[in-house]
Symmetry: C2
Subunit: 307 residues, 2 copies
């Protein structure tokens, strides 16, 4: 299979390096003016340096990929979707492997049902430097599926198997959209507070005041989930909170959110996380006070951190 990896940050570097190492044809799409010949990988999935192919413009691409893997930051999604439109219109499938709400939805709006796959990525990768990535933690397999139910299960299983054999543990799930929301909830509760206090997930859960704020974030998120009839694994905020504190946090208790690194650089994905919850709430006349305040705090910090 042939791949195009759009966005060669932390997650994109992992896909490009592992797929290339496994002998697949894979090309990275870089920002204009950039170049990249190899990727240095380190961390829990092994240490190696892999030669890779990358271009800074789609016009330089001399093949038609079967799957385009989208890994850009959420605030770059619209621009990235526009740039790959010529490729998708020739028949490539798009796999959205990003954080938060709104990326998959925008892609489906543009390219239609059956053309867009969703991947819930829950391994942690940190870009040490351009072309140098560390895999820090793996919460679960990458879960791949077509929320629209159009793409054949057999193809999705094959795709997941291929990623797994290349070294990125993956599986197919029809419920992928529920998995995405599971991660959205996790990220909305932990990322902004972890970034603001520059602390770990474990310490956020131990501190009764950050715990009460996370409880409120989850409570408000479920108001939105209910109002929009979004499918989830959880029937109530209480059910999710039990899962969150007892299952999700313990194995990642020493983890710092990637939003902390993003914040230091002055731009985060808050609009696709708590900001998306606030916007979904607004559509149903719900005021998500705590999420709104947290969004303002992160955006304030983004501005304060700009050079």
């Amino acid at each position: 299979m042939k791949f195009l990896v759009v966005g060669v940050g932390a997650v994109g570097s992992v896909y490009l390096a592992f797929l290339s190492r496994a002998g697949h044809q894979a090309v990275g799409l870089l920002k204009k003016g950039r170049a990249l010949n190899s990727i240095c990988v380190e961390g829990i999935w092994g240490d190696f340096v892999q030669e890779v192919r990358a271009v800074d413009s789609l016009e330089m691409l001399n093949y038609e990929p079967d799957v385009v893997i989208l890994t850009v930051k959420s605030y770059d999604t619209e621009q990235a979707l526009k740039s790959i439109e010529p490729v998708i219109s020739k028949g490539s499938l798009l796999m959205v492997a990003q954080n938060g709400y709104g990326n998959y939805e925008k892609a489906v709006e543009l390219f239609g049902r059956g053309r867009v796959l969703l991947a819930r990525v829950i391994f942690g990768a940190k870009l040490i430097d351009y072309g140098h990535v560390r895999v820090t933690v793996c919460g679960d397999d990458v879960v791949i599926g077509d929320p629209a139910g159009v793409v054949e299960d057999s193809f999705l299983k094959e795709l997941a198997g291929m990623f797994s054999r290349a070294g990125i543990p993956s599986r197919h799930e029809r419920d992928v959209y529920k998995y995405l929301w599971d991660k959205i909830l996790y990220n909305c509760a932990l990322n902004p507070l972890g970034a603001l206090f520059e602390t770990t997930y474990g310490r956020l859960a131990e501190n009764p005041y950050t715990k009460s704020l996370m409880d409120a974030v989850i409570q408000e998120a479920f108001e939105v989930i209910k109002a929009h009839e979004i499918p989830t694994f959880w029937n109530s905020p209480e059910e999710y909170r039990k899962h969150f504190y007892e299952r999700l946090i313990p194995p990642t208790k020493d983890h710092y959110p990637s939003m902390l690194e993003d914040l230091k650089r002055g731009r985060t994905e808050i609009d696709a996380l708590n900001g998306a919850l606030v916007e979904l709430g607004r559509q149903k006349s719900l005021n998500l006070h705590v999420n709104q305040t947290i969004v303002s705090l992160i955006k304030a910090k983004e501005l304060f951190n700009l050079p």
Copy 2:
């Protein structure tokens, strides 16, 4: 006149040093086990070292003060009021020279109307070290009055004149309670956000996201003011905001909140500021969402900063 200064932190050190220098009898009441022979003053009101008298227990005090000046942190108010009860019951007047809501109110509850004066202190003082204080800024005279209207104006004018002649610019105002609320609003908007972001008042007002949060803090404060019929100089949040951004912030734009120093030491006066607004709201079934979230953030940070 004879004075007892209860609490010898930043503001207490200023009162004890300036009153002693002017030749008044003044004694500082220290925490148990502490001793203090002199205070080093620096800053905008001059630099000098002044010998002072201080005791760590009221039993060691061999005179009856005319006025007891209360300058302890708000979280120590109840304990301090209990400790000075014997002195007040013998006839001393209490002057509450603290930050926030609830200190004056608790004192009146305990000692009755006509026994408690209120001082709105709006000069900035920073305790460099125990017995070493810097006066950094002076927003306005200390405003002194009896909100209950029992104590004679002539006495209050005399008291204010005496403080002024001692070097602490002061004046009497019957509306002192309105002045207190003016400062509560100012502190609730600026202190917690300045402490969280470790930034100046000017930068908080320039950043549109912290500005929107301060607007919301003020909006919610006016819901409480209206519900409790608290007397203020302002008929609406809009009127106060105009005063706040155009009059109050410009001369203090380079100022950092004292709450930032308090937060580093692990304990702030948030309960007497935004926490008091939240509690006053609760009494009238009002939810002050933004203030409540800010209280939780500051309390979270207090805990994270504990050794």
